[in-house]
């Protein structure tokens, strides 16, 4: 099969990322212009831009299956890359592409469906003898059943939505008298969020590490793994920092877990790139959690330590080519860390802070890779996620990568919105983090503050506040201010003001 032109059914940094690889492979790309962000950066990278700004429906075009198929056909795209999020794990979309003779760059609809439904995935894993947390065999019918199963497993337990994933639709229950209530809440939430009220119950693993394995499989039946990613630094199940490899794994455990990840993928005849997620407890017991049937946000850390372009592999596999390497060819080299720089206010509990990016300057260094979909002048819009850029830093080992990361973080310059930068600057200086001694509970339990600032930084800020006060009130030419009425100054005005001084 040939691929000459790919429709990118996505936006932002992942659209830019896919286009870069497509260009390298001499494949044309089509991007979709929307009315929400008509001047988005990814559009300027694509060979063809399909104008969809007339479409003012509430549902983003990237979720509109019929429309995307129509665009693919109109633009004569022979393949579609879904990126992550949106329709990336929608079996119906994958099937629709195939029905219309468009190559879906991803796994089979069957694999997406089976792994996307957590109850089915659990059954498959169970049948394949994969280690899992104890749990219900299928969905839970009613409160009584929920209580009796939880009693059998032992508290704490976690209620999960069968159609959930990515950390959504989960409830932890610690005591039996909460069980009934939580079961009803979880089921209602699942119905609302995923159109499917089914939930199941699992033993809740306390303070685990989140370890996931990158999988690559071709349509000829060969499946290999590309090592693990450590994604324990997360808040409310949203990952903030990922690294590869993980301090928690040695070669032996990596081999065991990797083989099991390959087994799970084999059970659904998986092809394309995929990720098998595990929880690893403090005794190094590991439990299969779920499989993500798409390219992940954090894929670059794996690319750095393996030297393999995962998007390129996805495209080659979609074309029907066989994998060019075997498991023993995969060598992990060095260390990579990814920081998700989001437009969020760490001082207000990571509340999103959408807005226009006024200035943007990123470090340029051989050990730094930046994946971004914005530039100075771009806006972070409330309708989409809050990502500004992924800062990916490499080093010979973890210590080296951390040192490079610390320096790179100090060179990132973003103005216009608040960002998660203060969080990362604090994190890379945290002794427990530096020692690799952290679990998924780290942010909630081990940190009392999500940022840190030195006394002199506060003093310099105080100096600036005082300077502004003087300019406004005490200079001969300053406007006399009526302190009773007060006055408002619009944000981000300082620039203009300084030039007046």
């Amino acid at each position: 099969m040939k691929i000459k032109r790919i429709l990118i059914a996505n936006r932002g940094e992942i659209a830019v990322r896919i286009i870069k690889t497509a260009r390298k492979m001499n494949i044309e790309t089509v991007a979709v212009r929307t009315s929400v962000e008509p001047n988005a950066m990814f559009l300027s990278h694509a060979d063809v831009v399909y104008d969809n700004t007339e479409d003012i429906s509430e549902i983003p075009v990237f979720l509109n299956i019929e429309k995307l198929i129509e665009i693919a056909l109109k633009t004569k795209s022979d393949a579609v890359h879904p990126g992550y999020g949106f329709l990336a794990e929608n079996a119906y979309f994958a099937q629709k592409c195939i029905d219309n003779k468009i190559i879906f760059i991803g796994p089979s609809p069957d694999a997406i469906y089976k792994m996307g439904n957590k109850t089915i995935a659990r059954k498959i894993a169970l049948a394949a003898g994969i280690p899992m947390a104890m749990g219900s065999e299928g969905n839970i019918g009613n409160e009584e059943e929920a209580v009796s199963i939880a009693e059998k497993i032992g508290y704490p337990v976690i209620i999960k939505a069968a159609s959930g994933g990515g950390g959504r639709g989960m409830r932890i229950v610690r005591k039996s008298d909460e069980m009934e209530k939580m079961f009803i809440i979880a089921s209602k939430e699942a119905e609302k969020a995923f159109n499917d009220p089914s939930v199941f119950i699992e033993k809740y693993i306390e303070n685990p590490k989140h370890i996931e394995f990158q999988i690559l499989g071709d349509t000829k039946g060969r499946i290999i793994h590309l090592g693990e990613r450590e994604c324990s630094i997360q808040r409310k199940h949203q990952k903030l920092l990922e690294e590869a490899p993980s301090v928690a794994l040695d070669d032996n455990l990596r081999g065991i877990m990797g083989n099991i990840a390959v087994q799970i993928a084999s059970a659904v005849n998986y092809y394309s790139a995929g990720t098998v997620e595990f929880l690893l407890d403090s005794d190094k017991n590991f439990y299969f959690m779920e499989m993500n049937t798409r390219i992940q946000v954090e894929h670059p850390v794996t690319e750095i330590i393996t030297g393999i372009d995962l998007i390129e592999q996805q495209i080659l596999i979609a074309k029907g080519e066989a994998l060019k390497f075997r498991q023993e060819d995969i060598k992990l080299n060095g260390w990579a860390i990814e920081c998700r720089i989001n437009a969020e206010d760490v001082q207000s509990g990571f509340a999103p802070d959408p807005g226009k990016i006024e200035k943007l300057s990123m470090p340029s260094d051989p050990c730094v890779r930046i994946d971004t979909g914005v530039q100075a002048g771009s806006s972070i819009v409330p309708s989409y996620d809050s990502m500004i850029a992924k800062l990916i830093v490499s080093g010979q080992d973890r210590k080296d990568a951390l040192r490079n990361c610390k320096m790179a973080l100090d060179k990132v310059w973003i103005k216009g919105t608040k960002t998660t930068l203060p969080f990362f600057r604090m994190l890379v200086r945290n002794p427990k983090f530096i020692d690799g001694n952290f679990t998924t509970a780290f942010i909630e339990k081990d940190l009392d503050k999500y940022y840190s600032s030195s006394d002199y930084e506060e003093m310099l800020a105080a100096w600036l506040a005082t300077k502004l006060f003087i300019e406004e009130n005490l200079m001969d030419n300053s406007i006399n201010i009526d302190f009773k009425k007060g006055k408002e100054m619009s944000p981000w005005l300082l620039n203009k003001r300084i030039n007046q001084f």
Partner: protein, 176 residues
């Protein structure tokens, strides 16, 4: 309010945690640390916008809000709030605060535009600092808006399934 501008020799910047920074007026463009004076420069250019130059390093700065003598400054991506006081206003503050205890009201405001998903308290509820009062959905994330103080709810303005703007008052609390 009026005062003789030239008679002010000192200014105080008080942080939200009541840390006090004293500066001379006119303001010196250097800050003393130990025995050394370090130069502070406020600059601006096309590439970086405004920044403070200190010990050979550029720090991004922005004024996020300024109201009366209250300033919210973003310095190196961290926000700080100061009130700048003259010796005269400092004195007045001391007199005021030594008076009766403050039976103040706290207005819980929406930190960002979004949709109210749930209101977890009613008028008359006693609330503790850190207790979630309102669930606000913004950018596909549900955010718990927590009580900043211990107190009693006097008024609930937030209604489920309605949209709010940034800084809309959600709940009024009588501080205990």
């Amino acid at each position: 309010m009026s005062y003789n501008k030239s008679s002010i020799k000192k200014l105080y910047a008080l942080s939200s945690e009541n840390k006090r920074y004293c500066f001379s007026q006119p303001l010196k463009h250097s800050i003393r640390i130990g025995k050394r004076e370090y130069e502070v420069k406020l600059k601006s250019d096309e590439k970086y916008g405004s920044y403070i130059l200190w010990k050979n390093r550029k720090y991004p700065v922005e004024v996020i809000r300024s109201r009366q003598n209250k300033y919210e400054i973003l310095f190196n991506d961290i926000s700080y709030t100061f009130t700048v006081e003259t010796p005269f206003s400092m004195q007045r503050m001391k007199v005021l605060s030594s008076g009766r205890g403050k039976a103040e009201k706290e207005f819980l405001k929406a930190p960002m535009p979004g949709k109210i998903i749930d209101v977890l308290v009613r008028e008359g509820s006693n609330v503790l600092r850190g207790e979630p009062l309102v669930i606000l959905e913004a950018m596909k994330m549900q955010n718990e808006i927590q009580s900043p103080v211990n107190g009693q709810v006097v008024k609930v303005l937030a209604k489920p399934d309605t949209n709010v703007m940034k800084d809309d008052i959600l709940v009024e609390i009588k501080v205990e």
